[in-house]
Point group: D3
Chain length 132, copies 6
């Protein structure tokens, strides 16, 4: 019973800690932006992506963030989230050069416009002094 | 002048070697499928994605394949290529568990249907005896 | 013959009335924006989507607008139209809470970024005093 | 403490009950298809979409299924899930005519090919004797 | 009044003639496939895309079909329609080589998988003896 | 050997000349925007799309630009590139009316929002005095 209780607590707690580890202040701002419109969605965002998925052991955080930067670049319709995750990638140890390579690779799989727009977002993030 | 010549040769040669290293027989079959319809496209496929992009030093092949599996799962409209690259990922050292995690992560960024369809493709590849 | 004539007239007239009922002023602005670039397209927009489709009896307007808000959120590349249709949904009787639920549901089918960006648009519309 | 425990239990239990109510046998088959490849993903699928989202009170199940049929038709890259949810829509009380209208409406928002392909899936589901 | 009547008649008649000119038998089969599921949609398909859009004078049919083959290749989620329109392009005078070039160009704008899948469809159409 | 050397040189040179012919100053600005973030990507952009693809003889530049305007309108997630290519289309002899028709045609294949957003971009380009 104690295990189950810990599980409930840890899902939210673990998610919030993971969100802070990966996305830092940008993650907090996403949560705040949901105040007054969909506060439950902030909770789901903490619990499912961060509490469940990012907390799984079988893939390291660097690889997870490379996967996310790749996908958001390829989809090409989620610039605010790409921005957060380029910073997130750097926060967990992906180098700027690796971010740039990941985005360039998307030219092959989603076309040059997707890659160009991803590089534009990366340039903005880097200009704002993303930690290397 | 010798450098430039080597550069021409190496772009095609380097691409073909890289394609074979990553995609193995499946890559050869893609090239063959272009015979009689667009043979020049087979050459471009060797030269640009494999000769130029995959051959760049700043991101290891494992990370590149994780990025590609993520993007193709998220786009959801390129099952044949996802199949080739799930095998490709395994060929360059990504474990089956890492492939599964990468695809599951896409539920967060592109929705559960995209992830489910990606897992279905992975199941097929694994059933065909993908090297672990 | 009279029937056919009425049909011609009613298609445009019916469409314009339906556009005004659903989209209100925002719909008028879309039509005006086409002046000087593609005035025929304004006519098609009135005739086909509104004169033909929205005027069909078998699905009520509330359900149609829920379907449109869902689709535009999921596609994630049509923010101006999503804005118009969140207001349109409210104009035909969908509550703010139902709009928010519809958008949140898209996290499952198109990913969290699509839902987050949809909620951002909804927040803007609600802040501009959308009728409840 | 009892509340929290009930919450843990009910999330999975509630999700499984909701999945069965909406998707019936087709839902079970989706869960089974994940055996041996990603059993945890089956659990997430029960817990987040069905235990969290579909169980929310502010939007009725008919409207949720109309939203999902609309979105999957518009995205156009998730035919297996569209099939499950056309049946799911009918299971929760959407009529065949309403399903057809919802899909036709997508011609306006995602183009005629998306609507045509959605109608083809609906025809298959109806031919397999979907309950009206 | 006679003009308006002619306009009604000509919209459907003109659309059907244009559909037959462009898509030939494949177009008829699309219409037939809608019998028993959405017959009104067959009428809209004749009236709006073919009666309104394809019948406009300012862009020749060859260019329209090149645009459609490009878009359907890039979207990558409408293989049945791409098949019909590759044949349609050839029916209105686009050469096989021009079809192949149009699809190859999409590698730049939508990625290599989209182009490869488009070439696969073209290969099928050509193998079925598309008129040159 | 001289041929091979000329081939290396001409790929970059030919691409740059083609980029300037099609995209003019806007193309130069795209290249400059890559300074300091991904200069190699500027080179690939010159070499592959412009040096390889646009330089192929089997499809005239007008048709290529119609294909690109169609695809970027349909994808709906690459407004900056659509802007460059609407101007590019005009630079190689496509008329404003043909640009508008190409975009309007996309309402049929990718929906009215995609076409409306494409027309908005065209209006901006035309207002900035695109050469007719």
């Amino acid at each position: 019973m104690k295990d189950m209780l810990m599980n409930i607590e840890s899902r939210y707690e673990r998610g919030l800690a993971k969100l802070r580890e990966i996305d830092g202040e940008a993650g907090e701002r996403v949560l705040e932006s949901l105040d007054g419109i969909a506060p439950d969605f902030a909770r789901y965002l903490i619990e499912f992506p961060f509490g469940d998925i990012y907390s799984r052991p079988s893939l390291d955080l660097k690889s997870r963030e490379i996967a996310v930067v790749a996908a958001l670049t390829a989809l090409g319709n989620a610039a605010p989230q790409l921005k957060v995750h380029i910073q997130g990638a750097i926060n967990v140890g992906v180098t700027r050069a690796e971010v740039v390579e990941t985005i360039m690779q998307m030219a092959v799989y989603a076309g040059f416009p997707a890659a160009l727009n991803g590089l534009t977002v990366a340039k903005e993030v880097f200009a704002q002094g993303a930690k290397q």
